[in-house]
């Protein structure tokens, strides 16, 4: 047995007699091959082609990051922190530096805060586009696979010119960001976001109004508002169930209190709602990028911060692409945290998988499941 092998659940072994519970149902193991999002398995119990129960079985991409970051200094940990979701690296990095700065009492300069928001919003678009392209794959819609991945390059190029890296930037450090805007960035970014918004209109026509998509998403995989709240769902999954929770508004951090944007929600809680929340957020982030560039003050981008986690506790939370990402950090005065608890959006949304998939037809499983935007690597950490 290799280290990634997990034995099947009890119920999948042997064939029960017709009187036993489970005799009339079929249990399927879906995964743990890479299904477009990282390795994980769903154990699906079927009655006919209706899913009566679906249990996620994570852990195939568990890295033990919470242990690793207890053993490294806070700067060396930054590239590790980003790994769980390289397509959303900046937001995860932000939660880390926010918890550290809370303990240190360091406030980055205003321009540094704006630059953080800039990369965060670019990452939100990049992450949503990557997710959308895989949604296209799951629906068998090849154009919707190619277009978002292609348009994602618009922002990857921008991020590269800003940070020097395409996806994992390590751009945010305690006290600010690593470097200032390169020359000509603003003009290029404005051009690209305007073009991108036109592209979203084209997506609308080819995909979001397409019966191929709507007939398999509207009214499918419903997560009620009450259920989403008590399961601790977060991000687009929670907003797709009609809850207007967004940490950028609820507990404004960095420069978000000075920016003008809307929190998008949909009341129905079905796959369609969750998808459309993502789409609305991409539009919002696109206009936010232009707004940030327009309002950005001049001045330094970084303040000196010690490589030290002072004694005490902090809870740094940010709104990442997949929901709240937070660090519960306990320091004891050294250059490493005593304990750094890493809770990501996907980890929290894992609880919503069973709730969403119950009662869904097997054929609709990939699209319903993927509408949660569950990223196994981010959940396993």
């Amino acid at each position: 047995m290799t280290t990634t092998d997990k034995p099947a659940q009890e119920s999948t072994l042997g064939s029960p007699s017709p009187d036993e519970p489970g005799a009339q149902t079929l249990t399927l193991s879906v995964g743990p091959q890479h299904s477009g999002s990282g390795h994980m398995r769903l154990i699906v119990e079927l009655d006919g082609d209706i899913i009566i129960n679906a249990e996620p079985d994570p852990g195939y991409v568990h890295r033990g990051i919470e242990k690793i970051i207890e053993l490294r200094n806070i700067i060396r940990s930054i590239p590790v922190i980003e790994r769980p979701s390289i397509i959303d690296a900046s937001n995860l990095n932000h939660a880390w530096v926010k918890a550290i700065e809370e303990l240190q009492g360091v406030e980055p300069p205003a321009r540094g805060q704006y630059l953080r928001c800039l990369l965060n919003e670019m990452n939100r678009i990049m992450s949503h586009l990557y997710w959308l392209s895989i949604y296209g794959v799951f629906l068998g819609h090849t154009t919707m696979f190619m277009w978002p991945l292609g348009d994602r390059e618009l922002f990857i190029d921008l991020a590269e010119s800003l940070t020097g890296a395409r996806i994992t930037y390590s751009y945010l450090v305690p006290g600010g960001v690593r470097r200032d805007l390169p020359q000509g960035f603003a003009e290029e970014a404005i051009k690209r976001t305007e073009y991108f918004e036109k592209r979203l209109d084209e997506y609308e026509n080819i995909f979001f109004k397409n019966p191929l998509f709507t007939s398999r998403a509207k009214g499918v995989g419903v997560l009620s508002r009450q259920r989403a709240i008590e399961l601790g769902a977060t991000g687009p999954t929670l907003r797709g169930s009609g809850v207007d929770a967004d940490l950028r508004k609820d507990e404004p951090y960095a420069a978000y209190s000075e920016l003008d944007f809307k929190v998008h929600t949909r009341p129905d809680g079905d796959s369609y709602s969750r998808v459309m929340v993502h789409v609305d957020e991409m539009r919002e982030s696109s206009q936010l990028i232009r707004q940030i560039l327009e309002k950005m003050p001049s001045g330094p981008v970084r303040r000196k911060a010690p490589i030290v986690v002072p004694r005490g506790e902090a809870y740094g939370r940010v709104e990442s692409a997949r929901g709240e990402c937070s660090f519960y950090m306990i320091g004891e005065g050294g250059d490493k945290p005593y304990r750094a608890r890493y809770i990501t959006g996907s980890y929290r949304n894992m609880a919503a998988i069973s709730a969403v998939l119950q009662g869904v037809r097997l054929a609709d499983m990939p699209t319903s499941w993927w509408s949660i935007d569950y990223w196994p690597v981010e959940a396993d950490r």
Partner: protein
């Protein structure tokens, strides 16, 4: 940003009034962050009160911390409120301590179903036990993992 902690102080006052002996410690860490340490045997009642009377209906995670020098584990429930929009930013850290040699706690899955996976992770990573947990099985670790709970402080990496 205002420096007063009026909302936080009021929450602590209400908690202390209702559970005068069971709340061991309640402090405002900073704006929007409250630490409440409670007696493990009363955590269920306090959790119910937090959810139904104070509106903390949204679990955002559970952390376990190994204080091996003090021979105890601390279990921390991180709670937020969706029900009350005026306290959306407030996060309560509901804490309890269990001794390191008998790390038994009460599961709060019946109060907040969302803590199920987090408690499962604490079971496998720290070797804690949660009474009343519906599925105390491995979550991230292999089902055939027979090593020590890997997040405990005494467990080191081979390269350390």
């Amino acid at each position: 940003m205002s420096l007063s902690h009026e909302r936080e102080d009021n929450l602590i006052k209400t908690l202390k009034e209702n559970f005068p002996t069971d709340i061991k410690d309640a402090t405002v860490m900073r704006r929007s962050r409250i630490n409440v340490t409670v007696a493990p045997e009363k955590i269920l009642d306090i959790a119910l009160f937090l959810r139904d009377k104070l509106g903390f209906d949204h679990p955002t995670g559970v952390s376990a911390v190994d204080y091996n020098r003090e021979s105890r584990f601390e279990i921390v429930y991180h709670l937020a409120s969706i029900a009350n929009p005026a306290q959306r930013d407030i996060l309560i850290n509901l804490k309890e301590s269990v001794p390191r040699n008998t790390p038994k706690a009460t599961s709060l899955v019946r109060i907040w179903p969302g803590v199920e996976n987090f408690e499962r992770e604490s079971i496998e990573m720290f070797g804690l036990q949660f009474e009343g947990h519906p599925r105390p099985e491995k979550l991230f670790l292999n089902d055939n993992w027979d090593g020590p709970p890997p997040m405990r402080k005494e467990v080191r990496f081979p390269t350390d």
